[in-house]
């Protein structure tokens, strides 16, 4: 500890050299490159058509307006429906996914006959699967086409998460388990009363990861949901943009400028409402992911 702080003090005293300057410039440049396209999108969503037409990039909205957001709310009932279904999928999916993941991870952190077999049974699926058509036909056979249940079920387990979680449980002190065992607790009681409370940070992190995963899901919904009466937020955004480009295309001869810039604001408003919840949970995610997730992540 004292050694580390000493080094730290030394570094603070050290003068900036060329290397430090170059690093600082490169890193700042990278931050700007990542930030500016976001900001551009947010600004466009908050300005009028005319302002966007005059200048596609400004640091603050040329003429401030909320019309793009109001249009989204009023004239497309699809947004509300997509939001609702996405929230339900996210909540239900996250709860179920966490249950399955945490239970399995705890079991894998203990020893029992057949553990190696079951572990390989899981790891194999990380590298090999049936593929699109067989999965689709199976869902069809189960009557799960055009259902939200299929979307929830398909995203339920990530073997990778189970492995990291298992490493988390393994790093917990063994004495606690032994003590509980001597007190006559069975494995489920130990899991529920001793181990789960210990792993709260890790579980919170994974719950957020799962939630983000479900929030962003679109591939299977695109294939499984018919779009008219069932959709998810990501697909709503996709179809909104596609419909608009189509609209612009057909109206191109009349007033290309007007339609394209009008829709640009609405598009960016849709982008913003789609990523807003992620922006809200991101600070909580970030707090944990460096230490929580990467501890022994590479180790199988």
């Amino acid at each position: 500890m004292s050694k580390a702080t000493k080094i730290h003090i030394k570094q603070k005293k050290r003068k900036w050299d060329l290397f430090d300057v170059v690093t600082a410039i490169l890193m700042t440049l990278l931050a700007v490159i990542i930030f500016v396209p976001f900001w551009n999108a947010v600004v466009i969503s908050l300005e009028t058509t005319a302002a966007y037409g005059r200048n596609p990039f400004s640091w603050l909205p040329g003429e401030f307006t909320l019309d793009n957001y109001l249009y989204l709310l009023k004239s497309s009932s699809g947004l509300i429906m997509a939001y609702q279904s996405t929230i339900v999928i996210t909540v239900v999916g996250t709860v179920l996914a966490m249950l399955v993941t945490v239970m399995a991870a705890y079991a894998f952190s203990r020893s029992f006959p057949g553990k190696k077999f079951f572990f390989m049974y899981m790891v194999f699926t990380m590298f090999f699967g049936g593929g699109l058509i067989p999965t689709y036909l199976m869902l069809k056979g189960m009557g799960l086409l055009n259902t939200y249940s299929a979307v929830v079920l398909l995203g339920l387990v990530s073997a990778y998460n189970v492995i990291i979680m298992k490493n988390g449980f393994e790093s917990a002190p063994v004495d606690l388990q032994d003590a509980a065992m001597i007190d006559g607790a069975n494995d489920i009681q130990i899991f529920w009363k001793v181990m789960l409370p210990l792993q709260k940070p890790l579980i919170a992190t994974f719950a957020l990861f799962n939630a983000v995963g479900y929030w962003n899901t679109w591939y299977w919904p695109l294939i499984l949901l018919n779009g008219n009466n069932k959709t998810v937020l990501q697909l709503f955004l996709r179809s909104l943009v596609n419909n608009m480009s189509f609209m612009n295309h057909s109206k191109a001869s009349m007033s290309a400028d007007l339609t394209s810039s009008f829709s640009q604001g609405i598009k960016m408003a849709a982008v913003f409402v789609t990523m807003l919840p992620i922006m809200l949970v991101y600070p909580f995610l970030q707090k944990y992911f460096v230490k929580g997730i990467m501890v022994g992540a590479v180790k199988m």
Partner: protein, 307 residues
């Protein structure tokens, strides 16, 4: 712990009954959603008929695979997939390592934290959202083109240009994922013994030399594992990104196996047998690439992921 008594094995199974109970949901899920579909792989060797089902449909042997190797569009997709994946190994794989090293070397704790917050954020967005942000920014009447025009350079249609499409893939993929991928290397760097750097400083080693002789060797294992995984996913080539960024103009250079499978399955009259065969080809090649990469990296560096 192992009892050598007769029936000892069953005793330890009985003792672990609660653990099996905890494991059961995972095993059931894996069976239903990963292993049951694997039997559908039979379709790759059959002519699918919805009335007869997977088992009842007639066998066609390797006909679908033969067809794949004489279909120009399929071959084009295979070539594109390899080219794009190799491009990613060159233009994306090292970037995360460089970012990780630069972040750790950077001065100023608070700025560092803010920058890292910015770098990792795009990872949590879907490619649908990112594609929209990118398309807006690079559109022919968008921000970048306005800048080019102000600088007196001709406007470029970045999104509908064959020559720009692949660089666009590498740049946007780095934009979204490089900061996130850097985390794993940062964790590895954090695990390096700090006294090594101290000793090097005393010996008068420059920062570049410290990176070359201490940091890089210190994260060798992590680099090896990530490389093996990248090669093992070589035939994936990034469906989500390409599906959301491509258009008809760039199809020639952007069609990969996964988008090809999607197209032949959902856009034209589908042949499920053929689609499954292409998918199986992809999965098998991926699997062998993974094993081969593991062996080659082991031979070269003594590091490996499994085996």
């Amino acid at each position: 712990m192992k009892t050598k008594k007769k029936g000892g094995k069953w005793l330890s199974v009985w003792k672990a009954r609660y653990l099996y109970f905890l494991l059961a949901p995972l095993v059931i899920w894996l069976t239903v959603f990963s292993y049951v579909p694997m039997y559908g792989i039979l379709l790759a060797f059959k002519k699918y008929n919805a009335r007869l089902g997977i088992l009842g449909s007639p066998w066609v042997g390797l006909a679908h695979f033969r067809r794949m190797f004489v279909t120009p569009a399929a071959l084009q997709a295979v070539v594109n997939t390899f080219e794009i994946s190799i491009g990613r190994l060159i233009f994306e794989f090292p970037i995360a390592i460089i970012i990780a090293i630069l972040i750790t070397e950077m001065r100023g704790k608070r700025v560092k934290k803010i920058y890292q917050t910015i770098y990792t954020f795009p990872h949590f967005l879907s490619w649908i959202v990112v594609a929209n942000i990118v398309t807006n920014f690079l559109a022919s009447d968008g921000a970048v083109n306005m800048l080019l025009q102000n600088l007196g350079i001709a406007r470029v249609d970045f999104l509908a240009s064959k020559s720009f499409f692949r660089p666009l893939l590498y740049i946007t993929s780095n934009w979204k994922e490089a900061g996130w991928s850097a985390i794993i290397y940062m964790a590895a760097i954090a695990g390096i013994d700090p006294t090594l750097y101290e000793a090097a400083r005393v010996d008068g080693a420059s920062r570049m030399r410290q990176i070359w002789h201490i940091t890089l060797p210190g994260i060798k294992t992590t680099i090896a594992v990530m490389f093996i995984l990248a090669v093992g996913g070589m035939l994936n080539a990034g469906f989500d990104q390409i599906f959301n960024l491509s258009n008809n103009v760039v199809k020639d250079v952007g069609q990969i196996l996964d988008t090809y499978i999607y197209d032949i399955t959902f856009l034209s009259s589908p042949d499920y047998g053929f689609s499954t065969a292409v998918g199986l080809f992809k999965a098998v090649v991926n699997f062998f690439m993974l094993v081969a990469a593991n062996q080659i990296v082991y031979k070269l560096t003594g590091e490996r992921m499994f085996g």
